[in-house]
């Protein structure tokens, strides 16, 4: 084709000199750092977490978390209510591990008021706590797998969680935020059929967890996304105050259920899964292994469930049983005082730590002798663990940051309170 016969397009194409493209860019062009807003509304942040991420290309250079988008003033509300009314308020804090919030608060108040929890109540508490731990890990697994692309795992985990929520509904009437734990024990004994249904669940759960493992454990995508990414050593994590599965994945076997057992945890025989490298894959594996261990604990607790009262017999703390109200005047007076004013707790301050699915969950209660607490503070594990996010994800790719955020398991309700 001669030049005369070329179309306009071809003529323009010929006029481009490729040498310009091949040259080095001029000195005044520079790489810019891009600050991206992972807004509070984002499908991959677990809850309303806002991250200001500064990127160099696809490499994350700095992360600044901005929280407070679901701050509910729970601690302030709790100061206004009688002790037993604080329990439902405080349960809604870390909204996936509601029994743990209640346990921390009840434990603190029981320590202050020097109330003894009967053995049966302790075993019932352990059963519900471990069921809640499994439920929390199932949601974590489902949403993390959803972030990484394994969409069907989400539905499988929700299916298992329905079984657990059925058990909760059986014992307390509600699926979430059940108000089951009270100061001194549990509010009601478990109904007939609970033990059988719980055993049916523990029989089925390890098999289901094996199914998740079969899909995820040796999956090429999971391995490439999680193996070797965002590892942090245990000492840095400890200096940041990180506890729970994150610390255990890095190799430190710190678990309050074994180190400082509360509520009869020393009666049970279970292992603590510990990782070696501390990367995302270890965090994932540790939590999945914890599901198996929790099933073991539930089985042992169901086997050894002792007879006895389900709440303390101290009538100044716990409501008397209904049938006593018809015959005993004292029971009526106690009932009246407890319902209208609530019980009084001797003045003092107590910090009561327990092991929640995310780490050390502790409740600080300050009492001034009246029937309402003067200060309730929950030391939430996600709040402290979030500080480790920048140490984990800085220097890696955005995709790794998403995977790390998923493995961090932040619950914004606990972070913001």
């Amino acid at each position: 084709m001669t030049a005369g016969q070329m179309s306009e397009y071809r003529r323009r194409e010929e006029s481009i000199t490729l040498s310009v493209v091949g040259e080095q860019p001029a000195e005044d062009t520079h790489e810019e750092l891009l600050t991206l807003n992972f807004g509070p509304h984002h499908p991959a942040t677990h809850g309303v977490l806002r991250l200001l991420v500064t990127l160099q290309g696809e490499v994350v250079r700095s992360i600044k978390p901005v929280i407070g988008y679901v701050h509910t003033g729970i601690e302030k509300t709790a100061e206004d209510k009688a002790y037993w009314k604080v329990i439902p308020v405080v349960e809604r804090m870390d909204y996936l591990s509601y029994y743990f919030n209640a346990m921390a608060f009840c434990g603190a108040v029981e320590t202050l008021a020097e109330v003894e929890v009967p053995k049966r109540a302790q075993y019932l508490r352990v059963i519900h706590l471990e069921l809640n731990r499994i439920a929390s890990h199932l949601i974590w697994l489902g949403t993390s797998a959803l972030d990484l692309g394994a969409v069907s795992i989400f539905l499988y985990c929700l299916r298992e969680r329905e079984l657990i929520l059925d058990l909760f509904e059986m014992s307390s009437g509600a699926r979430m935020h059940t108000r089951y734990f009270q100061v001194g024990g549990v509010i009601e004994d478990i109904p007939a059929g609970f033990v059988e249904k719980a055993r049916a669940f523990t029989k089925v759960m390890p098999g289901r967890a094996d199914q998740y493992g079969a899909i995820l454990n040796a999956n090429q995508i999971i391995l490439e996304r999680l193996r070797g990414t965002c590892a942090v050593d245990a000492d840095t994590l400890l200096s940041l105050g990180v506890t729970g599965p994150l610390l255990r994945a890095a190799g430190n076997p710190w678990d309050l259920r074994k180190a400082a057992p509360y509520s009869s945890y020393d009666d049970f025989d279970f292992k603590i899964p510990v990782g070696t490298v501390g990367d995302n894959y270890d965090r994932f594996a540790v939590r999945v292994a914890e599901i198996y261990e929790s099933v073991k604990i539930i089985d042992q607790a169901l086997d050894g469930l002792p007879e006895g009262p389900h709440i303390t017999t101290d009538r100044k703390i716990a409501l008397p049983p209904r049938h006593e109200l018809a015959t005993s005047m004292e029971a009526l007076i106690h009932h009246f005082k407890l319902v209208t004013e609530g019980f009084r707790v001797p003045p003092g301050e107590v910090y009561y730590p327990i092991e929640s699915p995310r780490g050390e969950l502790a409740c600080f209660v300050r009492s001034d002798g009246s029937s309402k607490p003067a200060r309730v503070h929950m030391r939430d594990p996600s709040f402290v663990n979030l500080q480790a996010l920048s140490h984990m994800a800085e220097g890696s790719y955005i995709a790794d940051m998403i995977a790390t955020l998923a493995m961090l398991d932040p619950i914004l309700g606990g972070i913001d309170r």
């Binding site: 807004g39 509070p40 509304h41 984002h42 499908p43 809850g47 309303v48 407070g68 988008y69 679901v70 701050h71 509910t72 003033g73 729970i74 302030k76 509300t77 439902p88 308020v89 809604r92 909204y95 996936l96 949601i139 489902g142 989400f154 539905l155 929700l158 299916r159 969680r161 329905e162 929520l165 699926r175 979430m176 935020h177 914004l412 309700g413 913001d416």
Partner: protein, 238 residues
């Protein structure tokens, strides 16, 4: 009408010849349109009904025939039916109610059997925002912005006690959702069971089906917050 079965191209009554190359013989396309469903023929109940039907119907008989076989509706109703059966909820969970929202989308109380399982991540693609959880004062302007970014017609469900009223927490940190955006359905509960949320969504669906007038701006006096591109922001090619 009789249906003649003939092999294509092998002798027969077709007027078509074969391909010059001797391969698949060409067929006259018009001969293939055997079942010509002419609407007039259908309505008249003509040849299709066979020998027993009258050749044509008129007047009342025709009207009855049509009523039995054809569905008439207004465009609004048809559109409302379509809109109500295909909500695209915005994937938006704030707190504990979000966990029950997951369970509603889960296998047992399957939101997909109603057609609502397509949770969109972007508000521009969603038409239903389910406020699941407590709205704090820091989050309220962001939710309002998300709501403004949704395209009309849009609906909002306030799930749970915390956003419908203040819920368990009547304190400085929360805002009931009614204060800053129009809500169509409030679902009580703390958190509402998946059945409860489903009931709320189906109520909304009924509401949209019955009232095709999507004049929600007038109903809720919700003017003044629309996102409108300023003139200089109009895109290329304008």
């Amino acid at each position: 009408m009789e249906i003649k079965r003939e092999r294509v191209g092998t002798g027969g009554a077709g007027s078509s010849g074969s391909d010059a190359a001797g391969g698949v013989p060409l067929v006259d396309p018009r001969a293939l349109r055997v079942n010509k469903h002419d609407s007039k023929e259908l309505l008249r109940g003509g040849e299709l009904l066979g020998a027993t039907a009258p050749a044509s119907m008129d007047g009342d008989e025709l009207e009855r025939y049509v009523h039995e076989r054809v569905l008439t509706t207004t465009v609004e109703k048809a559109v409302a039916w379509g809109r109500s059966n295909s909500f695209f909820p915005l994937a938006f969970g704030l707190a504990c109610c979000a966990m029950e929202q997951f369970q509603t989308a889960g296998p047992r109380m399957d939101i997909g059997r109603f057609g609502f399982e397509a949770f969109r991540a972007s508000p521009r693609q969603a038409d239903l925002i389910i406020l699941a959880g407590r709205v704090s004062i820091k989050m309220a302007p962001i939710i309002r912005r998300l709501y403004d970014q949704m395209l009309e017609p849009k609906w909002a469900i306030s799930m749970g006690a915390c956003c419908s009223s203040m819920g368990v927490f009547n304190n400085y940190a929360l805002v009931p959702a009614d204060k800053f955006m129009p809500i169509d359905v409030h679902v009580p509960g703390c958190p509402p069971r998946p059945e409860g949320l489903m009931h709320g969504i189906l109520k909304l669906r009924k509401m949209v089906q019955d009232d095709p007038d999507a004049g929600w701006r007038e109903r809720y006096d919700a003017r003044g917050t629309e996102e409108i591109l300023r003139d200089e922001q109009v895109g290329p090619g304008a």
